[in-house]
Subunit: 206 residues, 2 copies
DNA sequence: GTTATATTTAATAGCGCTATTAATTTTCGA
DNA sequence: TCGAAAATTAATAGCGCTATTAAATATAAC
């Protein structure tokens, strides 16, 4: 029986690669290991994806979209700026809770391999820019109205990303610096969403 | 002339290693490359430090201390809790500004090699715990007095680390998501210190 | 059933890395 | 100045990795 019983081998490779890349990053993951997880020959990984880089890129692009997706949706309901922002922050946090390794993947790859930034920008640059300019416009309108203090949209984005992503990025560090148990850490994660929302909304006040 | 003109070779290796480890992390830095930077034979790196791991550890430990150092000093002056906290946050931010690659190093190594957590904890565990418990005690006293809202000291630490470290961790990401120039990024970094202080002090209010 | 095509495997070239060893050169005190 | 100790080098064993190639096997169309 040569053919893989579990159906689509290409898909299995993709899934194993995703798990391993998220776990250890690009450099520490080998096509040999991916093949071992799937239970196939190592050459198959290259048969389907040619190079390790191509395999990684196809995964990475979708992950970047996932990370941004919380900010992409345009809310139809007529809600206040703060309420809309609150929902986006919560949605973003939820996505990260479900994919806690995501922030590390970005940091790791975009820091160690700045070349990839160009690739990413080509593919998602327009989307991310439109997200940014929409936020910028909304923010300026609110500032104009005097509802929130004057601030740079980059600062707001930074605060959101910092608070939301960092918990997942630094949880290994936290465990070292504070001698905290895994259960306590889970508790922190659980209640941290509202904490973040609170801090972010507080930071807007005039 | 066999002897290195620039004096202490061991020190030069240490410095080159530090630069490279900070730049690319443990895995992507080779002893071969370190030797090339120093201009010596690759075996010398192993002559002085035996293994790449030992070389890394000796650097890593000092970096962890550096990261924490802002919170170590006990301020003699009689200042309010908020003022003391403000100064610590600023000192911490200053250290990171001077060592912007530090946060990435921690995240990278403690995430990809959790084994190292044990080593770090053995060496700095007591120090970090005493820092934590001092903060905890001070915080509880202030909460008792009603000066700040009830909160977990872990939350406060998380907020500080998140806001301070993240800017330096994610600056490559920011450049992608927002199409920001290097000059603009420098501006953001420059004014971000007070922004962080503001957000942190705001987050304490009852 | 035969055959073209898709999938899978074994084998391997070629690279860079870590760590060790033995030999060589330099240093420096007696 | 001699010789032990320290510093440095060349050489290399041995490993795992990426990517390719050619051969083997399975699939499906006819």
């Amino acid at each position: 029986m040569k053919r893989n019983k579990d159906g689509n081998t290409e898909q299995q490779i993709l899934e194993a690669a995703e798990t391993l890349f998220l776990e250890k990053g690009f450099a520490l993951t080998s096509t040999t290991e991916i093949a071992k997880v799937v239970g196939c020959n190592q050459a198959l990984v290259h048969y389907y994806f040619r190079t390790k880089d191509q395999l990684f890129d196809s995964i990475f692009e979708r992950k970047v979209y996932l990370f941004m997706s919380a900010f992409l949706e345009i809310d139809s309901e007529k809600l206040s700026f703060e309420e809309r922002l609150k929902r986006k922050v919560e949605a973003h946090y939820d996505i990260l809770s479900a994919n806690p390794k995501l922030p590390f993947l970005f940091v790791n790859e975009l820091t160690t391999n700045p070349e990839r930034i160009k690739t990413v920008r080509e593919k998602i640059g327009n989307t991310s820019q439109s997200v940014f300019f929409r936020l910028k416009a909304e923010l300026e309108e609110e500032i104009q109205k005097g509802n929130i203090r004057p601030m740079n949209p980059i600062d707001l984005l930074l605060t959101i990303i910092a608070l939301n992503a960092t918990l997942f990025i630094v949880s290994p560090m936290i465990k070292v610096i504070v001698n905290i148990s895994d259960e306590d850490l889970q508790q922190v994660i659980a209640h941290r969403k509202q904490e973040n929302v609170k801090i972010i909304l507080n930071s807007l006040k005039p």
